[in-house]
Amino acid sequence: MSIIQQHTSASLSDAWRTINIDALDPDSSQNFDTTTLHPPLPEVSDADVRGLNGQVRQLLRGGDAEGALRGCLENPVYSGGEGVKDAHMQTVVEVLQSIKASEMTPMLQRIHGSEGGSELIDVLMKYLYKGMSGGAANGAGGPRTSARNLTPQPTGGFSQVGGRPGATNENTGAGMSVLLSWHEKVVDVAGMGSIARCMTDWRKV
């Protein structure tokens, strides 16, 4: 008893689904550069990242781990080449690895409680996920791309027992466990909202 009977035959068959009407529509998102929807982000150059890396290392050497962490989270690389992004990722991982497990939670709580702190924690979450995706999870010493080279294993990269040759394997595992324990602490402090924002945010690190 539908008053829109004329549509029924068409909508019952699936044929119309095979037509990509977006391709035909000049206004559709397919024919539209969606990045123009957001305000542009400043381009970060290789030199900037190296400069920042130097400053962060200096803070670390001075024993100011929190300052170092804040330093690299306040200047995330959203826009720049893959190399630049990976270099900054490397800096973040270095800082994370140098912080003791017992200091993680108090430090995160201090950062989260400060002005604009929730934004910094969100940035940290993005780096954790980037790290865990296999981009640069390996330790500070190893070559940057080794983890990526290791992943196409039959185990899909999840198993850490066997199947992988050499000492770099252990290195990856250690790096991963650092990220995982940080992830746990960050979720404790910043909640699920932090993960939701990490997945939602268009500013990728």
């Binding site: 829109i4 549509h7 909508s11 957001h38 910043a190 909640g191 909202g193 939701a196």
Partner: protein
């Protein structure tokens, strides 16, 4: 916050719901049919099923005054259901969209409605008298993606829309001949159709799930998929807004929200419960959840036998059954609506939740609607009432103690032989306690004959006890209700000890009344409730306490307060 009313309607996700203005009819979108439920007593019973759409209905709205229902569906159509004596008559609306319609709301004037769609347009529909037909005009620019939600400004011209392109926008939907020219506002002065009055984006730019104008229409809030809400306070046309405040929460994203006055927002979503935000143009913050207590029985872990514990470990690999959430809703809340309000403040709201079908077989109550009654002026008022009750009771106990003290002194000086009356009253003794010289003699004549006929030797022995400890038995009145009541209990007990050989059951009666007095006093003194049901108990306890003490001023004050609160309390308990 009273406990929510929970109605379980069926085992299926609810996309949207709407109450009629009298709250007797509830329209619920269930698949491709619209179900109408009528309130029967305290429950909602299925009354009617409106079928007309071919695909899932995505949204429904009942116009408050005309009672017309508008629905929109994934079949790209909207239907207006006109109430008539023989049932609802559907009218098709020409939307001219190529994708699903996602959201529909009547304008406050009820002459228009707006339909959001996946076709990157909002169809603003109005009735054209000449053709006897609903027609639509499209708001198109600069929408880049699906419209997820719309919300009307109180002036029925401005329309806010949220979209998956992460923007919340404010448009003018002015239609000549339908709308009166709107008053100039912070959003603009001249507002031809499709004027973009505002376009907002928060930092992380998640999909916008919900937009809402504040009751005055001078602020706009939106909730996005980055678990945030953002409130925008515009300054004027073509100027940057005076404040854009984003609150990033630790929670999962919010799907729907409503304003409660200008300084409070209630939002709910993937966390399956509603949260409250408070603030103004200087800042906003999350102030807590609306579900103060967990549902009884769910929160507290039952004590288990060791055998049972190991059995659970063996069967399920864990001890606790954690398949149920502690919240009323067991799945995402998709819509929050104002249930009862006067434009300025919301006293009740309702929300709906969706559910995964996989879950439906496990969980017995699956689709619920909960109606929360709310609070902004409600809670302080209850607090004030409880406070007043406490004050009255405290004064009553003070009067009681002072009067007894005075009576005793009087008796001591007059040296009267009849000293029964300085004994604390037992429930059988109903005279007012403050009887000064004159009334004291009068009350003497009402003394029960049983007490008059005491053997004189008893009287003598007791008299000597009492004259010894007469200054110590009545402690001075203090500023603590519980202290005073415990002093009174002490007096009752002393009295009962004195009379135990003369009066049948006197000790039992004394213990009874002591227990009752203490229970009332505790209820009054410790009553710190924000729910009307409990405040009622405090009122009752206070009433009993004053009546027992028999202080006329206090009894009268309690009665006045009770009469004062009765009308108001009933009004809040009605639904």
């Amino acid at each position: 916050m009273a406990a929510p009313e929970v109605h379980h309607l069926f085992h299926h996700p609810i996309a949207d719901h709407s109450f009629s203005a009298d709250r007797k009819t509830l329209a619920v979108a269930k698949d491709s049919a619209l179900e109408l439920y009528g309130r029967v007593g305290s429950a909602f019973k299925l009354k009617d099923e409106l079928k007309g759409h071919d695909k899932t209905i995505t949204s429904v709205d009942i116009a408050a005054n005309s009672g017309r229902i508008v629905t929109c569906s994934q079949d790209r159509n909207a239907l207006v259901w006109e109430p008539s004596p023989t049932g609802y008559k559907p009218t098709l609306v020409l939307l001219r969209i190529a994708r699903a319609a996602t959201f529909v709301r009547w304008s406050p004037s009820e002459t228009k409605f707006a339909v959001g769609s996946g076709d990157r347009v909002i169809a603003v529909c109005y009735f054209e008298e000449e053709n006897d037909w609903w027609v639509s005009k499209h708001l198109k620019k600069p929408i880049r993606s699906t419209i997820t939600t719309v919300n009307w400004h109180p002036n029925s011209v401005l329309l806010a829309a949220g979209s998956t392109d992460a923007h919340a926008r404010v448009f003018s939907s002015f239609i000549k001949g339908v709308d009166a020219r709107p008053e100039p506002s912070v959003w603009g002065e001249r507002l031809p159709f499709n004027t973009v009055c505002g376009e907002f984006l928060n930092n992380s730019a998640g999909w916008v799930h919900s937009v809402a104008f504040s009751p005055s229409g001078n602020a706009l809030a939106f909730a996005a998929h980055d678990s945030s809400i953002t409130v925008v306070y515009p300054t004027g046309p073509e100027q940057p807004p005076q404040a854009v405040i984003s609150v990033n929460t630790q929670l999962l994203p919010f799907m729907s929200m409503i304003w409660n006055g200008e300084t409070e927002i209630i939002a709910a979503g993937y966390d399956c419960e509603a949260f409250r935000f408070q603030g103004d143009s200087s800042g906003w913050q999350l102030s807590g959840t609306l579900e103060a207590k967990g549902r009884p029985g769910l929160g507290d872990a039952r004590e288990e036998s060791a055998l049972n514990m190991f059995r659970q470990m063996d069967l399920k690999g864990k001890v606790k059954d954690d398949t149920q959430l502690k919240t009323v809703h067991q799945n995402t809340i998709s819509t929050v609506r104002i249930y009862e309000g006067n434009g300025e403040s919301v006293s009740k709201f309702s929300n709906r939740r969706t559910s995964e079908s996989a879950l439906s077989s496990l969980v017995s109550d699956d689709q619920t609607i909960s109606i929360h009654s709310g609070d902004s002026e409600h809670v302080p008022r209850i607090h004030a009432a409880v406070h007043t009750i406490h004050g009255i009771c405290l004064e009553a106990t003070k009067t009681y103690l002072c009067t007894h003290e005075a009576n005793r002194r009087l008796r001591a000086s007059s040296g009267s032989g009849s000293q029964h009356h300085d004994a604390p009253r037992t429930p059988s003794d109903s005279q007012p306690p403050f009887t000064y010289s004159y009334s004291y003699n009068a009350s003497q004549s009402q003394t029960p004959s049983s007490q008059q006929s005491h053997p004189s030797d008893h009287n003598k022995s007791h008299r000597s006890d009492r004259s010894r400890d007469k200054d110590t038995t009545i402690p001075p009145a203090t500023n603590s209700l519980l202290h005073n009541v415990s002093s009174i209990c002490g007096m009752i007990w002393t009295g009962s000890q004195r009379d135990r050989l003369d009066v049948l059951n006197v000790e039992r009666l004394a213990v009874d009344s002591m227990a009752r007095l203490l229970a009332w006093a505790e209820t009054v003194a410790l009553g710190d409730y924000d729910e009307w049901a409990f405040a009622g108990e405090v009122l009752e306890a206070g009433h009993h306490l004053c009546a027992w003490l028999g202080v006329p001023d206090a009894v009268q004050a309690m009665e006045t307060l009770e009469a004062d609160l009765a009308g108001w309390g009933r009004q809040h308990d009605a639904i």
